[in-house]
């Protein structure tokens, strides 16, 4: 019985990961096509590090740019989905351990989830 439940969890987890990667790739491809169609200019200078503008480095900014159907915004949204995929997996594990009443590992996974959330939403210089 427990084995079946665990197997089901594994299957959901596998499907979650595959869906995340496919969805991310689709957004990156569509955004890439729009970006390439509109940028026939000489190539961006990547030799010197300048950093991305504010709207391409925060979660709300990226959603805003993607909704405006800007190529770079859509690519960035795809990359954001990709980063969110392992995070969703950890969140799913919290639920799975809750379901098993395994409190030690509920705490362990919550710590990991907290660190990941800090990485994406915290203030970084």
């Amino acid at each position: 019985m427990i084995d079946n439940a665990e197997k089901r969890m594994d299957e959901i987890m596998g499907r979650l990961l595959r869906t995340g990667v496919i969805l991310a790739a689709v957004f990156v491809m569509v955004g890439g096509a729009i970006y390439l169609a509109r940028h026939q200019t000489p190539v961006t200078n990547y030799h010197v590090f300048q950093g991305e503008p504010e709207e391409l480095r925060t979660v709300p900014g990226i959603f805003h740019e993607a909704l405006a159907l800007h190529g770079r915004g859509l690519i960035q949204l795809g990359l954001l989905i990709l980063i969110a995929t392992p995070i969703a997996r950890v969140a799913f594990s919290v639920v799975a351990f809750l379901y098993q009443r395994d409190w030690t590992y509920v705490v362990v996974t919550l710590i990991v989830l907290g660190l990941l959330t800090y990485s994406l939403f915290g203030e970084h210089r």
């Binding site: 594994d10 299957e11 987890m13 596998g14 499907r15 990961l17 595959r18 995340g20 990667v21 991310a24 790739a25 990156v28 491809m29 955004g31 890439g32 970006y35 390439l36 940028h39 026939q40 000489p42 190539v43 961006t44 990547y46 030799h47 010197v48 590090f49 950093g51 991305e52 503008p53 391409l56 480095r57 925060t58 770079r72 915004g73 690519i75 960035q76 990359l79 990709l82 980063i83 969110a84 995929t85 392992p86 995070i87 997996r89 950890v90 594990s93 395994d102 030690t104 590992y105 362990v108 996974t109 710590i111 990991v112 660190l115 990941l116 800090y118 990485s119 994406l120 915290g122 970084h124």
Partner: protein, 275 residues
């Protein structure tokens, strides 16, 4: 060179990197950074940002196939992810204080070690060691499928494994790589996990570790969509093809050749850093 040509060239290079990464077992990120910096002259910060993203793509793609097989130890993975994510945040912070030349040299050294480790056959632990107090308390002991049915194993050396995983996380956040070599070292050598369990659990952890680093890089503006787009798509496609070839062919010779190519790239990075 216009944007279309640049994108196509980088995409092609990333495809090759993903392919090599899958065949050698080093992962695409480790090949993509030297490719972008040495061949395309891209600033190492952009290169690391793009590589981290492609590491998540290949790890999650492969993990989707692995989870069914029942080899990975979720408890061990989750517990060690505390160490790798903290490490990744530390590594991503270190980038701010290290000069480009220093990052380049560290990268080269890690790359050389990874190439060396991928070529040497090391003894796999049998997983027959006795129980360990900490591992028992953390309920890490588990079973895995073998041709003779489920076999149980004991986990050992949790503190050493945790420490090594912190190092793996720092390297991942600093260099944009999966640090698969260090992760397997920690689980194989220190924690005595059976080989299949340590490789699949390591893959399971790589995506989470890279996500911690990638979040910081994104927020700092190190991830450029125009560059990350061909890199991510190329590495993902290349690693999928590589995994297919790996399943079919005997690749010992190929692996040796590619590992040598990677060693040359590593020396080039160290040389550039010292210059």
């Amino acid at each position: 060179m216009n944007t279309l040509e640049f994108t196509a060239l980088v995409g092609l290079g990333a495809l090759l990197a993903g392919f090599l990464g899958a065949l050698t077992g080093l992962g695409g990120g480790v090949v993509v950074v030297p490719l972008l910096t040495v061949a395309f002259g891209v600033d190492i910060h952009y290169a690391i940002g793009a590589a981290l993203v492609s590491v998540i793509a290949t790890s999650s793609g492969a993990a989707a196939a692995y989870v069914r097989e029942g080899y990975s130890n979720v408890r061990v993975g989750m517990f060690l992810e505390i160490a790798t994510t903290i490490g990744a945040l530390v590594g991503a912070a270190l980038v701010l204080y290290l000069r480009v030349s220093a990052i380049s040299i560290i990268f080269g050294v890690v790359l050389l070690y990874s190439a060396y480790a991928s070529m040497t056959e090391h003894e796999h632990s049998s997983g027959n060691a006795g129980p360990d107090r900490i591992a028992t308390w953390l309920r890490m002991d588990s079973t895995y499928p073998t041709p003779n049915g489920l076999e149980s194993y004991h986990v050992r050396g949790v503190p050493q494994g945790f420490g090594l995983m912190f190092v793996a996380g720092v390297l991942s956040g600093l260099l944009g790589i999966g640090s698969g070599a260090v992760k397997v070292l920690a689980m194989d050598k220190a924690m005595k996990l059976p080989f299949k369990v340590s490789t699949t659990t390591s893959n399971f952890m790589i995506g989470v570790t890279a996500a911690a680093g990638a979040g910081v890089y994104l927020r700092r503006g190190y991830i450029d969509p125009g560059l990350a787009m061909p890199v991510m798509l190329g590495v993902l496609a290349g690693s999928l093809i590589g995994a297919r070839v790996l399943a079919r062919a005997r690749v010992k010779v190929l692996r040796l050749v590619f590992s040598s190519v990677i060693a040359v790239l590593a020396l080039e990075m160290i040389y550039n850093g010292l210059k």
